[in-house]
Symmetry: C2
Subunit: 215 residues, 2 copies
């Protein structure tokens, strides 16, 4: 197996859901910039990017979020704490925003993407995915979460994904009412503390043949 | 910026939703083995892994799936085609399967994880996530999708995530009725064809300040 394959598998095996972060160890600026860009570069359905990532740097805000996070101390101890929010509904303006951005970046004539625009509208706004818009947007946020955790592992940064939080309380603390976005989950990032015993536990996955089947 | 950061960002910028695959180029066995393990190593809520990945190698099956995939030729042309399925409901047996696996792998005494078992049952089986079990399982599958696409990019493998398919028709063709799993989306993997013009188009993402906000 090539060096590249081995390196990647080593990173994926090294990572675990970090329960205790070293509160004194911060992610260096250049590494954080890479992780921030990994979020931005996440692939999404139609490229619609129906989410925002809130990085909570204010210690007072983190302390406020803690009791609404099953008191998991990763919220206050991790170097970085990212709250993933997703669009609560999808409107024509969401589609037009992407059309404008694409037209600008690719220097297309106005109207060049009208067919694509219609296709998106008939699905994510007025069609089947429009009916489950927040859930559909949430799924895209989970792609970003998967991408972020893998990138963190590759860069030797520890992470803890967190579904264990109270989204409505998060929304209140983060003033999301009326913003068109709602909290879906979070991810703490930083470096494991020496005392986190979870780091040395055997990784638990089902056997490959139980998870991957060939047809 | 360190070499590692630059390499990762180069990989993420290199990737795009590949529309035309080179049907003659296959992913080498050692690279595929790494991608398969990346799926297996995906982090999930509680570690419950509520999904199965079906790799469709049979050309006849691929041809059958094509008309139910908006006729996107990636389905038949890509080296590998992975259908992501997620648990349709979560039962006590799902939790017990994980408890047994954990107890075995970590050589714990029977009953050592009773509290953890109760916590899972009161959430993903009998509690709030139990009520949306298939959707919750689907979100975990999207973590796997994000992880897989990033790993593929790191290894120089092209990918195309696909929500544009008809899950009930997939379920029929793949005989998933009664299996406890249902199709949620798919991902084609392989190598871009020289004629895929999408490869050279400017990547469209919103500005970082619109996607990432600091609180």
């Amino acid at each position: 197996m090539s060096n590249q394959n081995t390196q990647l598998l080593t990173a994926l095996n090294w990572r675990y859901a970090t329960k205790v972060f070293d509160a004194n160890k911060k992610i260096p600026a250049d590494v954080w910039q890479t992780l921030e860009q990994s979020l931005v570069l996440t692939p999404t359905s139609y490229g619609l990017q129906p989410y925002k990532f809130l990085v909570i740097n204010d210690p007072a805000k983190r302390a406020e979020l803690l009791p609404h996070s099953w008191n998991q101390h990763q919220v206050v101890d991790a170097s970085h704490f990212v709250v993933f929010t997703a669009r609560t509904e999808m409107k024509e303006a969401d589609v037009d925003k992407l059309i404008k951005r694409t037209t600008d970046l690719r220097r297309l004539p106005a109207g060049a993407l009208n067919a694509y625009r219609g296709m998106m509208l008939s699905n994510v706004v007025n069609g089947p995915r429009g009916k489950i818009a927040h859930e559909w947007a949430t799924r895209q946020a989970y792609i970003a979460l998967g991408n972020l955790m893998t990138c963190a592992a590759v860069l030797g940064v520890d992470a803890c994904p967190m579904e264990g939080l109270n989204p409505p309380e998060y929304d209140k603390i983060l003033n999301l009412a009326g913003s068109g976005y709602a909290t879906v989950m979070a991810c703490a990032l930083g470096y494991r503390a020496a005392e986190d015993k979870n780091a040395s536990l055997a990784k638990v996955r089902y056997e490959t043949k139980d998870l991957v089947q060939y047809v």
